[in-house]
Symmetry: C2
Subunit: 283 residues, 2 copies
């Protein structure tokens, strides 16, 4: 009944929206730099509270590279300081060695229901971070719910290894195809909306991710001319004549298996040749 192997005991994995929001990060050390990296994936503005002397090299690099994204408040966090009001933020992340200060910040956030994460104090966190894989619009998070960070890294490698690296591009190109289709057949919902959705689904079912990712701007036009306008789904080879990306992608993947078969076949030939020689020499 449930799609899940396991009921209970887990977290709710969600994609939090931070466009136009403000995030406060308290602490600019190594963990603070990790937090900045996570928030840079979104479109939030970051206020970083940390004395300059305590900034990690990576934090300094972020401040230098993304001045429009990060405002550095060169001071320690102090309660009663009018310049830092946790209520002014949509999310607060502490990355401090001082657990007592972290706790007090979390309590202040909790009262006014500002989502908060305190590094290294899981029982105080509204949410945890996890291993992240990103490729354009594609984001993948791997959470072990606090069990074994070392294994989490191994699982992240497996997930990365499963991707061809074309998935993000496929999402972008399908988005472009959908946008162009909407220009040709505009309107929201209704019969036309359903027809658009059906045709898009058929294309995504027929074409591989790698083929979708290889769709150039001209290909998109041709796919609409030859496909949408004629109510059919052209084969990828019909449209992607120009670009060999798809073919080579598959070629590289199967080259290993092919060469193994060739070697086995040759071994069989040699084995048979030797066996016949032995057989004939003894006859």
């Amino acid at each position: 009944m449930s799609d899940q192997k396991t009921i209970g005991g887990g977290s709710l994995l969600i994609a939090w929206q931070l466009k136009g929001k403000r995030v406060l990060i308290v602490g600019g050390g190594e963990v603070g730099a990790q937090r900045i990296d996570s928030i840079l994936a979104t479109d939030a503005h970051i206020d970083l509270v940390s004395p300059s002397a305590r900034l990690h090299t990576r934090t300094k690099q972020f401040l230098g590279a993304y001045p429009a994204r990060i405002t550095h408040l060169d001071q320690p966090f102090a309660f009663g300081d009018s310049s830092i009001d946790v209520g002014a933020y949509d999310m607060v992340l502490t990355a401090l060695d001082d657990n007592d200060l972290s706790r007090r910040i979390v309590e202040a956030c909790r009262v006014i229901r500002v989502p908060v994460n305190a590094a290294d104090i899981p029982e105080l966190c509204d949410f945890y971070f996890g291993g992240q894989v990103r490729d354009g619009p594609l984001q993948i998070m791997i959470s072990t719910n606090g069990n074994g960070p070392r294994i989490a890294a191994l699982i992240k490698d497996r997930v990365k290894g499963a991707l061809s690296g074309k998935e993000g591009e496929a999402l972008v190109r399908v988005g472009a195809l959908r946008a162009k289709l909407k220009e040709r057949a505009p309107g929201v919902g209704g019969e036309l909306g359903k027809k658009r959705m059906r045709w898009m689904s058929r294309v995504c079912e027929t074409w591989s991710l790698e083929e979708l990712g290889s769709l150039g701007d001209e290909d998109v036009g041709m796919l609409l001319d030859e496909g949408w306008e004629r109510n059919r789904v052209p084969a990828p080879a019909e449209i992607l004549k120009g670009s060999k990306g798809s073919f080579w992608g598959k070629g590289v993947k199967s080259a290993g298996a092919l060469s193994a078969s060739v070697v086995s076949f040759m071994a069989g030939v040699v084995f048979a040749r030797v066996a016949f020689s032995v057989y004939q020499s003894r006859r």
Copy 2:
């Protein structure tokens, strides 16, 4: 500098904590059932507001299977109704056909900063859901940030295909090993804490995930006796003598490649045999 291929434009993927929390789901249709499924992965209690007549079959199954987890309020959602106060919840999810009612619920939540998701109205959501893969303590989320649900399903299949199915068990067994190690060498932090962490890391680096997942309770004791007590990392074969889990796991994986090679070899033999026959018959 950043671990990420892409800066900006994304969501913040997080693992939200709901242990001991209360979640309100408004609407018990098909999407409502999906929401119940998502929350059942956590330890939150669910209040479901929906007239009985509007419950999806799957929702009814959830209500029957998890009565202690879900309280069904058999009524439509109405403002001013004293029995439904969004402020009493830690999270609110609407799954309604009535967009206006959804909007009003979201606005009520926003004022008091209760995290809220409104199905089909992305611009009103604090967070989105995504494709989920779970195996015990392991949870993976795939988000395409609203681009192409069809492709999201294909990517989910790729991620699932990359897992051996032993990852969750490996996390559980490493957790058991860590717990037993802490019994033998108790205490928080300090030199002993560092030594424990180093030894655990070495084990996780030397053993494969599948081997870690095959650790039985007796194996854990032997690994501590032969490993931790002697400050070394025994080879998996030294400890896992009894259990063949690891061997078979690998065996199944390579069986396909092996049989392909055998077939190629035999093909080579047959080819050579025929070639010799032809050669001899013409001589």
